[in-house]
Subunit: 130 residues, 2 copies
DNA sequence: ATAACTACTTACTTTGGGGTAGGTACTTGT
DNA sequence: ACAAGTACCTACCCCAAAGTAAGTAGTTAT
């Protein structure tokens, strides 16, 4: 009967939700603005760190690496580093990541269709994919 | 030629990104933990405010209303209020929202499949839908 | 010798999403 | 008279996510 505190409500709810709600499970893995974009770019094939940086100019290096790490931890991407003098690191989708591909493409399709309703949006299917 | 400041870089990038990246467009509408869950519950049919509250016990009233409003503004849900004495408000998906349904279901399917790989996750297809 | 390239790391600051805890208006039930 | 139920609103606070800006190591190019 000791005092338990540790700002419990929040953590408790998060844990429960992730265990029981598939949508929450997904959002914990791809939520947060950058992860989906990174994954989206990787659908079209493995990319080097620098390539991703150039493809997503708005992202900061810190954010890119941070999310690449999290995506690795969540088993959505692989990191292959060659131990040579100018570093050469390639990121690619894992099988789990590949399976997410169609979902991301469906999201993009919806965006293009939906944005067309309101005009002022000029994206095409490969704006992000390149 | 007056002073324009308004912490511009961030807003500028956000605007550009939303106009050119379909994935960002989607995430601006359904990102942020609760929106997808609310939409997911509405797939199975219109629901009253109180129903949603009961279906998603972890959400606070503030968050529920806040996101319902944003979803309205983003044209994903309808709000139908009868002007009677005990208020009666029903939320339902708009056509745009309906079109997002399959995407959300695909996300959920992926979650169930993916979580099965690691065990410790016991969700089924209707854990959230009820 | 100095800049440029690679893929990072670290320290510091800001911002806004989310939580807590109250209140509102109006009616029905006891 | 007072609680209970409906669907909200408001002010305040906190923390984690995101941004800023700098540094690291080792090599090649000028």
């Amino acid at each position: 009967m000791t005092k338990v505190k540790e700002s419990s409500t929040r953590n408790y709810n998060k844990g429960i939700a992730e265990m029981t709600c598939p949508i929450t499970y997904v959002m914990n893995k791809i939520g947060g603005h950058w992860k989906t974009i990174i994954l989206y770019y990787l659908i079209s094939g493995p990319k080097r760190y620098g390539e991703l940086k150039r493809l997503i100019p708005a992202i900061t290096e810190k954010m890119l690496i941070q999310h690449l790490k999290q995506l690795q931890e969540d088993n959505l991407i692989n990191r292959k580093a060659e131990d040579i003098v100018p570093p050469h690191v390639v990121y690619s989708l894992t099988p789990s990541g590949e399976e997410l591909g169609p979902v991301l493409l469906a999201m993009a399709e919806w965006a293009i269709k939906d944005s067309a309703k309101y005009a002022g949006f000029t994206a095409t299917a490969d704006t992000c994919v390149k």
